[in-house]
């Protein structure tokens, strides 16, 4: 028996008043009750706009012109208010911290009930019941500052389920989560659907992570149009992902490198379902053929931390016995779960905080006595959110700011700014206001504004957070270029792809201590490290096991080497 349609787009087109072109073109899409649907697409493909149409933010908060129609649970959405829709569609937004409106988890879960004038007793009873479903019942009194990213997301989920909605809409649920928490989030969503039979819509560009559990259909959006609506197996074995700029699962990439023709019959949508009896030999053969990358960085040491210990309050150490040595021209990642001490470490390096014990050396020299300003000429730091750094309306002035603070003569500033703009590919925009730039371009401006001071070391906090595959590649390739110019780069990140593809070395922090300082392929195949840093093993590891390669780490390393050679060609 076919279930009733619950969401139906018919010849639906939407154009924001502020835009010259429609963002969604002629959408025809039916989602049935109890279905679990994944919507993927690169940035700007209209996938978030589609979500806003379903939950009513369009046209309630974002105005625009709608043609065609959208019916939800049999009613035309134009005749419903955002409040009516919120009784049917529960939305979990991507920033689980920002959407946490209550002062405690309990209050946040109760928010929708409070607005509905539910009296005290039934409200407390329902909050308790929903909190049990997401295993938050012991944390109802906790403030958002005491909760982890995953717990905040559980709270958000409970906050929409409390209304007993029919449809749960997740707008980029993985964007701000570390890999392990993201994996758990996908499991929770799946369990909820199994138990309650609710309709689930997940909007995400991290395809492989969502496909950790089963979905009924995947819908691909590109430039405001639906270009695919199929099951995961057919999608993964088609060329659609590569064409739209969505990252395909890593094991699929590996299979393709090995010359395997990936077809839907192999059930390649999920690693658990992959059937590859016929192609094991070719993968093993490919692995044997890959030459090891023998290059080792033998440059002199540029940055050293020796026995560094630090605490904010004098009793609870945030960092303990930190020792590492970074060579000039390295590009490495600093990983670990939230609160492990990554940002504190970068603050010590920049001189924002002062270590209690230990020595920081730059090229062998103790730099403890340098001021923040002096250190900035050696070590530059780029914050995650470009809006937190940009303080001038014009690109030129923004980049020149650091030099002007240092009383560099204006005639010297000009060539330096121009040179940096060229490196960052921003020369055509020299006279532009920053407000006219895209997110990725703003990111480049902030990097340029630090590079202009000629630092030898650059620290970037999550440089690719929330970016789709194309923008991710743009930013990372740009950093590779800078690295080739001799700048040492430290990336603070959760992104396992980034570690694998770009940083040969990873330092892993856990509870203020270094638990691993080795190659990325070792980190991502070592269960203990994976667990304490909230990472997730790469699917290449599972693939190696399926093929029967005894040394999984070597397989992952071979993949990295192969890919690097492919790129350098």
């Amino acid at each position: 028996m076919k279930k009733q349609p619950i969401i139906a787009f018919k010849n639906f087109t939407f154009q924001y008043f502020s835009q010259a072109e429609p963002t969604l073109h002629d959408i025809n899409l039916t989602i049935r009750e109890g279905e679990k649907v994944l919507i993927v697409g690169p940035s700007g493909s209209g996938k978030s706009t589609l979500g806003h149409c379903i939950n009513g933010l369009i046209p309630f908060a974002y105005k625009g012109e709608i043609t065609g129609n959208l019916t939800i649970k049999g009613g035309n959405t134009l005749e419903k208010s955002i409040f009516d829709l919120s009784k049917t569609v529960g939305t979990v937004l991507q920033d689980s911290d920002g959407q946490f409106v209550g002062l405690t988890a309990g209050e946040d879960i109760a928010f929708a009930l409070e607005n509905d004038n539910v009296p005290y007793d039934p409200m407390h009873e329902r909050v308790q019941r929903v909190a049990e479903m997401v295993e938050m019942d012991n944390l109802l009194g906790s403030s958002p500052f005491e909760l982890s990213g995953g717990q905040k997301q559980r709270t958000s989920l409970a906050g929409v389920m409390v209304d007993d909605v029919d449809i749960l809409l997740f707008d980029e649920p993985l964007a701000n989560l570390d890999p392990a928490t993201g994996k758990t989030a996908i499991e929770i969503i799946d369990d909820i659907q199994q138990k309650s039979g609710k309709t689930i819509i997940i909007i995400e560009h991290r395809l492989e992570d969502v496909l950790h559990r089963f979905v009924d259909r995947v819908i691909v959006l590109k430039e405001g149009r639906i270009i695919a609506d199929m099951d995961a197996h057919s999608l993964v074995s088609s060329p659609i992902l590569t064409d739209t700029g969505i990252r395909e699962p890593l094991y699929v990439t590996a299979l393709k490198y090995a010359g395997v023709d990936v077809t839907a019959d192999m059930k390649p949508g999920y690693i658990q379902t992959l059937e590859m009896d016929g192609s094991k030999a070719s993968v093993a053969e490919w692995h044997r053929r890959i030459e090891k990358d023998q290059r080792v960085n033998t440059n002199d040491s540029i940055l050293q931390m020796e026995d560094i210990t630090f605490s904010y309050d004098g009793t609870h150490p945030v960092l303990e016995d930190i020792n590492f040595d970074i060579r000039e021209g390295e590009m490495l990642s600093l990983v670990g779960k939230n609160g492990a001490g990554k940002s504190t470490l970068s603050k010590l390096l920049c001189g924002f905080e002062k270590e209690n014990k230990g020595i920081i050396r730059y090229s062998g020299q103790d730099i403890s006595d340098l001021t923040i300003k002096e250190r900035a000429e050696i070590i530059g730091v780029v914050l995650q959110n470009p809006n937190q750094m940009i303080s001038k309306p014009m690109i030129y002035d923004e980049i020149a700011l650091g030099l002007r603070f240092r009383d560099v003569p204006e005639e010297e500033i000009k060539p330096r700014v121009e040179k940096v703009l060229k490196i960052c590919g921003l020369s055509p925009f020299i006279d532009w206001p920053i407000s006219a730039l895209s997110y990725g371009q703003k990111k480049r401006v902030t990097i340029a504004s630090i590079l202009v001071l000629n630092p030898k070391i650059l620290i970037l906090d999550e440089p690719t957070a929330g970016q789709d595959f194309r923008h991710y590649t743009d930013i990372m390739e740009f950093l590779v270029e800078i690295n080739k110019l001799g700048v040492t780069i430290i990336l603070i990140t959760h992104d396992m792809h980034l570690m694998l593809e770009y940083t040969p070395r990873a330092i892993v922090l856990s509870s203020g201590r270094i638990v691993a300082d080795t190659s990325a392929s070792v980190v991502l195949t070592d269960c203990d490290v994976i667990e304490c840093a909230n990472l997730k093993e790469t699917s290449l590891y599972n693939l190696a096991q399926m093929v029967g390669i005894p040394d999984e780490t070597a397989f992952v390393q071979a993949f990295i080497d192969y890919e690097r050679r492919l790129k350098n060609r």
């Binding site: 933010l57 309990g106 928010f111 004038n117 923040i372 530059g380 937190q388 940009i390 700011l401």
Partner: protein, 280 residues
């Protein structure tokens, strides 16, 4: 993280009879006692209320370290107020009480009178007896319960929810501020007193502008999150944190109502005026 413990009012969850009272009760009692003290100029009555409010302060086990800063501000305010009121109207006491007992002549025709001393001491005692009550209310009430009690005495819930939201996001904005300021200092911004005064204002803008832009992103997100969960749908809303009224709540309200009535009665029946006049 250190930012985790930042709180605007250092509301502490201690279990005392005062903490157990509902926020609404505390607000009502606070208003009753404030009106009582504001109405009366009888120092005997005011001292009695002051003794009462200090007893309650003790009961609520508020530590001095929590209120030290506020106490300093209040002391400065009271002292300034005292000096200024004397110099603006040194004869106001004489005008009120109708007699003139000079203690000493200061200079010219400005003299210190017993009437002025009584009037000013009475006035400062009024402040000193109300302020501990305000501190008790703020420090023993959960911030969102505070918002809920405001809404229950007639403040529109959208306004009182703004109070709760401010408390919720204040630490976030504070953290943003610190990050931005550090990043700008690394670029070379001088925030120390060494910078010229005219530059300091310009320098402050270099932190404020990014702070505004990153806060605007946050506001859009919050308002969407609130719309999506039905905030503002109806004229009223209920509150998860609202406490139910218990016998203690009624007792507390009755006690403060009685104090209020007693104060008014003293003025009406004994003093036959708002002022207590020992001079005639």
């Amino acid at each position: 993280m250190s930012s985790g413990s930042l709180k605007l009012f250092s509301y502490d969850l201690v279990d005392t009879p005062i903490h157990r009272l509902s926020g609404l009760t505390k607000l009502i009692c606070f208003l009753f006692l404030t009106f009582a003290v504001m109405y009366s100029y009888d120092i005997r009555v005011i001292l009695a209320v002051m003794a009462f409010s200090f007893t309650v302060l003790r009961m609520s086990r508020i530590k001095f370290s929590q209120i030290r800063l506020m106490v300093i501000y209040v002391a400065i305010f009271i002292l300034t107020n005292m000096v200024l009121s004397f110099f603006f109207a040194p004869e106001f006491g004489v005008e009120i009480y109708g007699t003139r007992h000079v203690i000493t002549t200061l200079w010219g025709d400005i003299a210190l009178t017993q009437e002025q001393v009584l009037y000013q001491v009475t006035k400062q005692t009024k402040y000193a007896s109300v302020i501990p009550l305000g501190m008790i209310f703020l420090l023993t009430t959960n911030p969102s319960e505070f918002a809920s009690s405001l809404s229950r005495v007639g403040v529109h819930y959208k306004a009182s929810y703004a109070v709760a939201l401010t408390l919720r996001y204040f630490p976030d904005v504070q953290r943003d501020y610190r990050d931005i300021s550090q990043a700008q200092q690394a670029r070379g911004l001088d925030l120390s007193r060494k910078a010229k005064f005219s530059d300091r204002f310009k320098n402050a803008l270099l932190i404020v502008i990014p702070l505004i832009f990153s806060s605007l992103d946050r506001i859009e997100l919050i308002s969407n999150a609130m719309d999506l969960r039905g905030f503002g749908k109806t004229k009223t809303r209920t509150w998860y944190t609202a406490k139910k009224f218990t016998r203690q709540d009624y007792t507390a309200i009755i006690i403060s109502a009685l104090i209020f009535l007693a104060t008014i009665s003293v003025s009406i029946f004994i003093n036959r005026s708002r002022f207590y006049n020992p001079f005639i």
